[in-house]
């Protein structure tokens, strides 16, 4: 049995993970497998706080447009809020990259004005 992450957990007060800042692909963003990242996101329980689409819930919204990978990784490893830290022994760098790729793959939603129930 491995130690698992609900790592994006308990981020109710984490300005750093507000997913407000676009994250352009940079040389510091490792290549990841979005499909595997989605699987990990669900299997490891990240969705419990952040929702299956990383849209937020008890925890912060993480996507679309996740924060830059460097900040994302730093926060997961050394969070400043209530979220427990997840070391690379618990969540490997490869798994973290896969999850980040999943977050990057989530498209921008349509504007509220285009959804009849939200535009009234």
């Amino acid at each position: 049995m491995r130690f698992i992450l609900s790592f994006l957990f308990v981020v109710t007060v984490i300005p750093a993970l507000k997913a407000q800042t676009p994250a352009p692909a940079t040389s510091t963003t490792p290549a990841g497998n979005a499909q595997n990242g989605k699987k990990i996101f669900s299997n490891y329980g990240c969705y419990q706080c952040h929702g299956f689409e990383a849209q937020g819930g008890a925890g912060a919204r993480l996507a679309p447009r996740p924060i830059a990978f460097t900040a994302f990784s730093k926060y997961v490893r050394q969070p400043t809020g209530e979220m427990p830290p997840y070391t690379s022994r618990v969540v490997s760098d490869k798994e973290l990259a896969d999850i980040y790729a999943f977050l990057q793959s989530i498209p921008q939603p349509p504007p509220a004005s285009s959804i009849p129930l939200l535009s009234k």
Binding site: F3, V10, C49, Q55, G57, A112, L118
Partner: protein, 298 residues
Amino acid sequence: MADFWGTVNNLRDQLVRSSRALTKKDAKLVSISSNDLYLKSNYQDFQRYTEVDLAIAADVEATLPSLIEASKRLVTADRKRVFEERGKKFAAAHAQALEQARTTATYAWDASPISTARLSAELWEVIKDKDWASVGGGAGRLWNVEKQYQTLLGGGAAGVGSGLPTSVGAALAHRKYGRFCVSIQNDGDFMYAPGAIWTAAHHRIPLLSVMHNNRAYHQEVMHIQRMSNRHQRGITNAGIGTKIEDPNVNYAMIARGMGIYAEGPITDPKDLGPALRRAADAVMRGEMALVDVVTQPR
């Protein structure tokens, strides 16, 4: 606290639990509430002590109209202008918050499991033109609450199991006024006292109960995960006794077995609106109806 005992007894569930006064130092606080009557009732409700100068155990609904009128007579022209300015600020803040809520609701709008924001918006569409009252669950910012009877406060202790019987009881209280009662019913809560459905069927209590079915005692899931992580145990076993799956519960089947109209489980958001409208029709006929909606965790 290097030893085991010291560690266990110094570990807090929440890292911070603080409060701060929002009133001026010389302000007198008076409460009018039926909460103080709970101290002698069968069901008691003790929470953090609220320090007030005068606690009046009374019926708020009966008291407020005359109290408001008495307060208005004391308002000077200057104060009235202040209130009006403050009202404009509140209105602007409300409009801004509603706009933000609508934007937030777009995320995972078409997702399955269905987002709680989608559920809230679809349900609002069904009830907004009725004389409605929420008898359970949070409506959120997408609903426009204008009357005092349209909301029902929670049990106070965030206890699990009171939601369904409370909603049936509240719907009974609303019945004589002909109000359309609706509740957002958590699945974990439902598991404690589902017999309340039979009570509603037997006594012909109209109520639309919409299941927020995230297939878990979810507040427990998050708590166990949090504590497991804090203890560096990992979360592998956090689902034991906290998730309600394998098998998934068919709440509509349970409800139909107790004699009420029911649909679900609804997993496609496109199916939700029509299902709610059909269930609402049953409620308008004077029955309880249940729609089981498989939802995002929160």
